[in-house]
């Protein structure tokens, strides 16, 4: 009898302490914030492409409520769709870019990216002259002023490929290319496996390693489902060419802020568009063409304009300047001082 009682006691002690240990191990789950786990409706929310109009309206309302709760901001969340006859293309003039990183931070402000930990869609590489090898680029240049004489600058962001390696690896089709050429992510569908991040040859995708932190006063209240609404923790995000702006005819934030006009954006299907003219007339290239990703993001150079204010081909040929006392052959002081940027265009 004593035997049984003791054995029962030992069994109970082991079981009780075992349960206690399991409970202790699970205890961090108490810290789950309300709303961190999806509610039933959120859990049952369908894939973006499968949602009916009413379901989308409800989803947008949920997002607005979530944003108000998390950031104290009344946001307007819309679902803006691609237009027919539009294929967006970006072109970036490497002869112009001065590496000021205005685009990087304008993008962050527009797209409600996390400030801590920092998430940025655009990386500006400072490249030594004489190479296009990205591994020679410096991501962390910190001169008092730019451009630096010995370098040129190469901003990289999502190239919105026509043959994207990132979308094909996604196991749940949470990322796809829209008819207007923009590759998007359904942040409510992504499971966070980061396979697309490994697959992108341009390192254009970012992961929310924790809940993004955005100061309340810096939240951009104009949001859309597929682009700049605040992302939940544990999902991927990326550049969407600011589709909430561009699908309404506006220009992306990185372009609007560029002080030197190095960025060009438009509809490549329109023969009169600026990007189309660039593709037809300029020396254009894409990064890592051997990867056959068919980017919609092109880089180009200007022709080397005649430096020093001298007449150019196409300008008025050999007019002498009206001031009659210009010394002949005076060296143009300071002209072309930093390559293309110094040219008095």
């Amino acid at each position: 009898m004593k035997q049984t009682r003791r054995s029962f006691l030992r069994r109970s002690a082991a079981a009780a302490t075992g349960l206690a240990a399991v409970a202790a191990a699970l205890s961090p789950l108490r810290e789950l914030e309300e709303g961190q786990m999806p509610d039933l409706e959120g859990f049952l929310q369908k894939h973006y492409k499968e949602m009916s109009e009413e379901e989308m309206v409800r989803a947008l309302e949920r997002i607005e409520a979530r944003v108000e709760k998390d950031y104290g901001v009344r946001a307007q969340v819309s679902d803006v769709r691609a237009q027919d006859g539009v294929e967006f293309v970006y072109a970036l003039n490497l002869s112009r870019c001065i590496g000021c990183r205005r685009c990087v931070h304008a993008c962050v402000a527009e797209n409600n990216q996390s400030r801590a930990p920092e998430i940025q869609y655009i990386r500006v590489l400072e490249m030594p002259r004489g190479t296009l090898d990205l591994e020679k680029g410096n991501h962390h240049y910190d001169h008092p002023t730019v451009p630096d004489d010995d370098h040129y600058y190469l901003p990289v962001q999502c190239h919105q490929c026509a043959n994207p390696p990132c979308t094909k690896v996604c196991p749940v089709e949470a990322t796809w290319t829209e008819p207007d050429g923009i590759t998007v992510i359904d942040y409510d569908w992504c499971i966070g496996c980061r396979y697309c991040e490994a697959a992108c040859p341009y390192w254009a995708r970012r992961f929310n390693f924790t809940k993004p932190e955005i100061p309340k006063e810096e939240v951009n209240p104009r949001m859309s489902y597929l682009s700049n609404r605040p992302r939940p923790s544990g999902v991927m995000e990326k550049c969407t060419f600011c589709l909430h702006k561009t699908r309404n005819g506006e220009l992306p934030a990185c372009l609007e802020v560029c002080p030197v006009g190095a960025r060009k954006f438009g509809n490549v299907l329109d023969p009169e568009s600026e990007v189309r003219k660039i593709l037809e007339k300029k020396r254009v290239f894409v990064l890592k063409e051997e990867a056959n990703t068919l980017p919609r993001f092109f880089y180009y150079f200007d022709e080397r304009y005649a430096a020093g204010g001298g007449p150019e081909p196409g300008g008025a040929p050999n007019h002498s300047l009206p001031a009659d006392d210009v010394p002949k052959g005076s060296a143009p002081a300071g002209s072309g001082e930093h390559g293309e940027h110094g040219e008095g265009g």
Partner: protein, 435 residues
């Protein structure tokens, strides 16, 4: 230790060995018997000597620490790991890759047994397949803890990007392999428990399927990496054969160690010949593995293209970053020592074999983790170099999963051995209980 009388179920008194009257009743009786079997196994898994208890207690404690670490990660996000946007896969995926190899290795025992009718390995097959089952379970756990949104796991069922995404292939082959092995082991063990001869129809086709399947799980896992144009370090056709060769070295090496533990700790007698056969398997696999590794390195370094940056970082360091250099050379040294030990005269020495196996397992583990996954991310496609160091929390999660997996493997072996030795038998058909 061997004098333990096998359990006799309450069934003896409650349910006489009746002749079933209909199919339905036969099924019901079978289900009940299976339930009793599972219950006995459950009870049995708590029974053991002091070493067994200490081992299980240790694993439980580590597993609980891992569970706790994972709960913290679940709440705070993957920020608790050392991973970054630059190195977006780390220890979790590295361990996953290694364990897929371990799981695939069970096939190395199945092939000689069922194709070449090798007698001495026959009894080992079951332990190999149990290893496969536990390894796959660990794999699935490692993938799950790597997910940013495990709560959305069901999205896999709703929009499955098959056959485009290699990850969906991996989900299919891993789970399929798990089911296959659970079926084969479960069927064979249950038949042994019932004391009847297994029907060939119910397992031989599955065994042959499992052979192909085992190759496929590691091939598909290799394709996860080798299909990425963004990562030149992985973008090589040799990755899949390398994976298979290293798996067929590490897996049987692990079994060699397991078999000796079983031999010492239980009544189950594994033929000595089996060890020698396994040693041959391991030797050949490791040789092929090192040859393939050499081919890869030659191509990288002799070509000396920009694509060799990751390999340079791994073996020699890049621009002042040397984080993986000591690891990879340790791994190479371990593998070379192991192969030397295996080829030297007097290789029948079991201690030496064990040393070689331990070195080989560690060497291959380092090579697939630190040596394959991490350098694929360094430098990034934009040339940035950010090093990866696992955090304590991440390491605890890994250790927890390993402990959980070993716990499962121990329990599976612990209940299988008495079944195979006849100590744990069904009493349904009136088979006399061996004393």
């Amino acid at each position: 230790m061997q004098s333990h009388a096998p359990p006799s179920g309450p069934a003896t008194s409650t349910r006489p060995a009746a002749t079933p009257e209909s199919t339905r009743e036969r099924w019901a009786a079978g289900a009940k018997e299976y339930g009793v079997f599972l219950f006995r196994c459950f009870r049995l898994s708590f029974v053991g000597n002091r070493t067994y208890h200490l081992w299980m207690l240790g694993l439980t404690v580590v597993a609980l620490l891992g569970l706790n670490a994972y709960c913290k990660q679940f709440v705070s996000g993957l920020v608790t790991t050392g991973m970054t946007d630059q190195v977006s896969w780390g220890m979790y995926i590295a361990n996953f890759t290694f364990l897929v190899g371990m799981a695939a290795a069970a096939v190395m025992l199945v092939i000689p047994v069922y194709i070449y009718k090798s007698k001495e390995l026959h009894d080992l097959v079951i332990f190999g397949e149990l290893l496969a089952v536990s390894s796959i379970i660990m794999c699935l756990m490692f993938v799950t803890v790597d997910l940013g949104r495990p709560d959305r796991f069901h999205h896999l069922f709703l929009r499955f990007n098959w056959p485009i995404s290699m990850l969906t292939w991996d989900v299919l082959v891993l789970n399929g392999y798990l089911l296959l092995n659970v079926h084969i082991c479960g069927y064979l063990i249950f038949c042994a428990y019932q004391g009847r001869k297994p029907s060939r129809l119910f397992y031989i086709p599955f065994v042959f399927l499992a052979i192909f399947w085992a190759v496929s799980i590691h091939t598909v896992t290799a394709f996860l990496y080798s299909g990425l144009v963004a990562r030149p370090f992985w973008n090589s056709a040799v990755v899949a054969p390398r994976f298979l060769a290293s798996a067929f070295a590490a897996g049987p090496a692990f079994l060699i160690l397991t078999v000796q533990v079983i031999r010492r700790a239980t009544a189950y007698q594994v033929p000595k010949q089996a060890l020698q056969t396994l040693r041959n398997v391991v030797t050949v696999a490791l040789t092929i593995h090192l040859f393939l590794l050499g081919s890869e390195l030659f191509t990288e370094f002799y070509t000396d293209s920009a694509h060799a940056a990751s390999a340079k970082y791994l073996f020699f360091g890049l621009e002042g970053f040397y984080g993986l250099v000591p690891w990879i050379w340790t791994s190479i040294a371990m593998n070379l020592t192991a192969i030397t030990l295996l080829y030297l005269p007097g290789r029948e020495n079991v201690t030496r074999l064990n040393v070689a196996c331990v070195l080989m397992i560690l060497g291959i583990w380092i090579e697939k983790g630190m040596g394959l996954i991490v350098p694929g991310f360094v430098p990034t496609p934009l040339g940035e170099i950010v090093e990866y160091t696992p955090t304590l929390n991440e390491t605890l999660v890994c250790l927890g999963i390993w402990a959980g997996g070993l716990l499962i493997y121990t329990i599976l072996v612990r209940v299988t051995v008495p079944v195979l030795t006849g100590e744990l038998r069904s009493d349904r058909n009136g088979i006399p209980e061996p004393k």
